[in-house]
């Protein structure tokens, strides 16, 4: 009896020991992330509270918060992010519904092609836009020639709208992925039965398809919001006066003005905003389930 209990105890201890040894494997990656990511973040926070003389102070941060450039950048960032996300949701929904419910031969290929845009640099689209919508671009040149105008009529590119259009192009796939995954999981006979009961296409769309899409839209939308708040390349390439977002402001302060305390202060706030949106995104994913979101991450 004693030996059996002893053996049992030994094997439990052994398994626990293996467990501890097994969990030790997580430590090296943790150390690397801590050293290369957490440590720099901590230093950002420290720098944000360090003034020009190297002393700890709230002044740099308060200056930043009070400055007009910061307020403008914050408002721009949020406005552009919300507008882009809304545009992504609209475009992504339209295309996803068409691809999923009014399919044509080769629709899978087309969907994959759009999906590849995720792998391309974000400034590619912006560069292309200068050729299409720029002052000397296709549309302006064509309109000026056709309507005999002196000045280029289409000027929206060098404004927040240009950024929104570019971000819409680049981030719509992040809406389409979870949406099309959700639609593919949907029971097709629901749509057929709804039609047989008398539902015209628009009625079925509104009452059967859209409710099924909402969880995926929520997940994709919150991801889009996060990504557009963080976007830098597009804003840099548009380079329009007055269109400054938080990431661009950080770059300007740090690299062009060498004002590291201000840059770190802005970065701290930018990071806090991003982490908040990221938490929101993870909470939404947790609620609606991974299958519904076709999570990229």
């Amino acid at each position: 009896m004693a030996t059996i209990a002893g053996d049992l105890g030994k094997s439990v201890a052994a398994r626990a020991g293996r467990r501890v040894a097994g969990s030790a494997w997580i430590v090296p990656p943790l150390i690397i992330i801590a050293a290369l990511f957490v440590y720099p973040l901590v230093l950002i926070v420290r720098q944000a509270f360090t003034d020009a003389d190297g002393l700890v102070s709230l002044a740099p941060l308060l200056d930043v918060l009070a400055s007009r450039s910061f307020a403008g950048a914050l408002v721009n960032t949020l406005e552009i992010a919300l507008a882009s996300t809304a545009a992504c949701i609209v475009l992504g929904s339209v295309l996803s519904i068409i691809f999923s419910f009014v399919p044509f031969p080769g629709v899978a290929f087309v969907a994959r092609l759009i999906d590849t845009y995720i792998a391309l640099p974000t400034f590619l689209v912006t560069l292309a836009f200068t050729f299409i919508y720029g002052s000397a671009g296709i549309i302006n040149a064509g309109l000026m020639h056709a309507l005999h105008l002196q000045l280029p009529p289409v000027q929206f590119l060098y404004s927040a709208w240009g950024v929104v259009l570019a971000e819409m192009t680049v981030y719509t796939p992040f809406i389409m992925r979870p949406l099309m995954a959700a639609f593919s999981l949907m029971d097709r006979s629901q749509i057929e039965v709804a039609s047989s009961l008398g539902g015209r296409p628009s009625y079925v769309l509104r009452h059967v398809i859209v409710p099924a899409a909402l969880p995926a839209l929520l997940a994709g939308g919150s991801l889009c919001l996060l990504l557009t708040v963080n976007e830098f390349g597009i804003v840099l390439f548009i380079g329009a006066k007055g269109v400054i977002t938080l990431p661009l402001l950080i770059y300007t302060k740090a690299i062009q003005e060498s004002d590291y305390s201000a840059a770190c202060g802005i970065a701290m706030i930018n990071i806090a905003l991003s982490l908040g949106l990221f938490t929101l995104y993870r909470l939404i994913i947790a609620r609606i389930g991974k299958a519904n979101a076709a999570v990229v991450h």
Binding site: T122, A128, I138, S195, A263, L277
Partner: protein, 266 residues
């Protein structure tokens, strides 16, 4: 199954076609045209030439290509190793720890890239570790940004992997390290390759952190393209962008063609 008449279907397809063309095909087509253009004064370009492309494999542009490729390969490799390591190791910790630590590995992708660059700049421009002005800091920046994606891909793949394989291997007497090398990793190979591809593509296009930390001797293609377009050399910029896209796609396709002996059971 939503629309019933050929007429309404045709109308919808036309709308989709117009949108798809205007939003996704047109930019690609325009960049391609611009990369071959000598002049673009009217609505369409003229004076087609290969000059920009020949320029892009010489001098500055060539070294930028080299820098991007090396950074991409090294950062992706490192990110793959660490990301996969973390994903595999998390299976061995208790459930509460796993739930707490998983977000830690995802967070680097949530933070804006410029801030990551700024952090690295601030942290490694002072003792104890001085790295500013070196190539290493660029590599580290890329690594931090893409490690979350490799971690995510590998975690997703591990979730799909049936525990039967490893349990059977264990019952046959295989020790953990043997199982890892001969069962788990081969079955995970498709996911590992996909993770590498994605990381490589992201690294090739990375701008926000790179522009904060790059030393003058290590200019990556995105930074180079920005300089070109900033000073008005848009056609050259377009050509270099096309080169970036082609190289990225080439690596993606090449990696996808690597034969994997075992297709994981879904």
């Amino acid at each position: 199954m939503l629309l019933w008449s050929t007429r309404s279907k045709a109308a919808v397809w036309t709308v989709a076609g117009v949108i798809g063309f205007a939003v996704y095909l047109l930019p690609m087509a325009v960049i391609i045209m611009a990369s071959f253009a000598g002049q673009w004064n009217e609505a369409l370009p003229s004076n087609f030439t290969l000059y920009h492309y020949t320029q892009s494999v010489q001098g500055d542009s060539a070294s930028q290509l080299f820098a991007s490729l090396v950074t991409g390969a090294l950062a992706s490799l490192f990110a793959l190793v660490i990301g996969a390591w973390a994903a595999l190791a998390l299976r061995g910790v208790g459930r509460t720890w796993a739930r707490l630590l998983t977000p830690v590995f995802f967070i680097p992708s949530a933070v804006p890239s410029v801030s990551v660059g700024l952090g690295l700049l601030v942290a490694f421009s002072q003792p104890p570790v001085l790295l500013n002005g070196t190539i290493a800091i660029v590599l580290i920046a890329h690594f931090v940004l893409i490690s979350a994606f490799t971690f995510g891909n590998v975690s997703a793949g591990l979730e799909r992997l049936s525990p039967d394989f490893e349990q059977v291997a264990e019952s046959l007497g295989a020790r953990p390290s043997y199982r890892l090398r001969h069962v788990t990793l081969p079955l995970m190979m498709p996911y590992l390759l996909a993770a590498f591809s994605l990381s490589f593509a992201l690294s090739m296009g990375e701008l926000g952190a790179t522009v904060m930390v790059y030393p003058p001797g290590w200019v990556t293609m995105p930074v180079g393209i920005f300089s070109l377009t900033d000073r008005g050399d848009v056609f050259q910029g377009a050509a270099l962008t096309m080169l970036l896209v082609l190289v990225t796609l080439f690596v993606l396709v090449a990696v996808s063609k690597v034969p994997t002996k075992a297709a994981a059971q879904r």
